[in-house]
Amino acid sequence: MNPRWLTAKGVARRRFLCGSGALTAALAHSPPLFAEASSNPPTRDRQVTTNPGAAVRVRLNVNGHQYDLMLEPRVTLLDALREHIGLSGTKKGCDRGQCGACTVLVNDQRINACLALAVAHEGDRIRTVEGLGDATALDPVQAAFIAHDGFQCGYCTPGQICSAVAMLEEARRDTVSAATPDVRRKGPVELTDAEIRERMSGNLCRCGAYAGIVAALRDAAGRRA
């Protein structure tokens, strides 16, 4: 273990884990899982594979980068991101579409990556928490989560943040929610606390940091208005 990692400012837990024994050994024995884009684009009209479950070539566009992967059709977008591309910011919570920890943006819309097949998202623009900002240039939603303590353990946070980025954009586009008093009325959405809570209801937080999350989004909504 390299002691530098323990003293480095802002040390990444992921970097620590990836550098520790077990995972390194496992990865070392895995076949190469991806490579940067090559010259043969996959066909958009797929033929039936002859061997059920056999891996097929899948090209994904994630955070502006292209990844050519060999994936079984049953691999979810969530597992493709985490296990095959190595973007572990997107979290696996329930893996059944109930908790929202896996929320990513596909063509600017928030979805649950655990209930999506990677192979079905060829040609789509996928954005994960890693694509929103970094320590030197935070997305305003990330900054607001820090300013308002919008988390405790942090496990649901990437999903909360991706969800919130889309939520603010949806509100700007005058979309309705179950908290909208009159769906027939046109005009800008007023992001009351009730609206924020309803529009973020697809993201659960077991620590119960909801008060901080609502405060962060009230703040972020005001700044973006």
């Binding site: 958009r44 797929r46 893996d95 579409g97 649950n112 209930l115 097949l117 309705v176 769906v183």
Partner: protein
């Protein structure tokens, strides 16, 4: 999840051709299908990805009705300007369901084909489920049946249909369009979902070789007086214990026409025809509302844990009608 073949199609004919294989399922939003596949409840050997089919449009028809493509997402349908103005009941029902993430993925066609969330159906650890395995029995009848049916159930199955959208579509007299090699069929919502009877494995009248291509709505007569009320265990992101789609056409202070459809109480959206008839010509006073509520649960038969749903449904009908009249 078991391994499967994946094929992507761009033409409706190719999707229909693929459905000739009985172990093939269509993949649209995937929010229900992939969940069931992860739980080994459904195990297709091949998925046909239909998300690239040209079925994602909403268009106003010459008669003033609307045609909604089967692949329109729940989000896009709820926010469509025509739907919000002319069919606010449908917008309300859509945003009452699931979460924003799921609504972005889920489609109209998939929502129509949603499977029940009966605990015993969705967990293969329980062997006794006639819907999963015909003839295996029904664990829910003597089990934890708080969320189950109070109307239209059978010895074989007491599951409820989970959709909110379908409850509104039933109230709005929607028609489902289904295409197969033998042509296009138009199935009214009132006939689309089935009661369980002795064949609970069949949720709908859709045949295995048919693809839902669209849903049509007749011109709206209920836009001014409608309300979708959903009662559930949490304030959001939960299935209905009871829901009510109430739609009224008023003539002055009297009811000219009414639709009352309940969700969460039966194997299909439960149209309360008796309650509707009781309201026609009436002024909506307390007596008329209470009579409609009582009529809506006519024939109710609760099980061990869900007797509360009878009273809840009656009160929900009263409140939904009151809110519909006020809008």
């Amino acid at each position: 999840m078991r391994a499967f073949d994946y094929v992507r199609v761009k033409r409706v004919d190719d999707a229909i051709a693929a459905l000739a294989d009985p172990d093939t399922r269509c993949l649209a939003g995937g929010t229900n299908l992939l969940d069931l596949m992860k739980g080994y409840v459904v195990q297709p050997t091949r998925l046909v990805d239909i998300t690239r089919l040209p079925l994602a449009g909403i268009r106003v028809l010459p008669d003033g009705g609307v045609r909604i493509g089967a692949l329109v997402s729940n989000t896009d349908l709820a926010n469509d300007r025509t739907i919000r103005e002319r069919y606010p009941l449908l917008s309300q029902a859509l945003v009452a369901g699931a979460s924003p993430q799921l609504r972005n993925m889920a489609t109209v066609g998939g929502n129509l084909l949603q499977r029940t969330r009966c605990h015993y159906f969705t967990d293969v650890a329980f062997a006794a489920c006639n819907k999963r395995t015909p003839g295996a029995g029904c664990a829910a009848r003597e089990g934890a049946n708080r969320i189950h049916a109070i109307l239209g159930a059978s010895e074989q199955c007491i599951a409820v249909h989970p959709s909110d959208m379908c409850v509104a579509l039933a109230a709005l007299d929607a028609v489902v369009e289904a295409q197969s090699r033998s042509g296009t069929r138009r199935i009214p919502m009132s006939e689309f979902h089935r009661l369980p009877g002795t064949t609970p494995e069949r949720d709908t009248e859709l045949r295995r070789d048919e693809l839902i291509t669209a849903v049509t709505l007749p011109p709206s007569t209920f836009a001014d007086h409608s309300h979708y009320l959903k009662v559930r265990d949490r304030a959001s992101y939960a299935f209905a214990l009871v829901s009510v789609a109430a739609a009224l056409e008023m003539a002055g202070d009297r009811v000219r026409d009414a639709r009352i459809v309940l969700g969460g109480v039966a194997h299909r959206p439960w149209r309360a025809v008796g309650a509707e008839k009781a309201l026609v010509g009436q002024v909506l006073d307390e007596a008329a509302l209470a009579a409609a509520g009582a009529a809506a649960t006519d024939g109710a038969r609760p099980y061990r844990d869900n007797a509360f749903k009878v009273t809840l449904a009656q009160r929900a009908v009263v409140r939904a009608l009151r809110d519909a009249a006020r809008t």
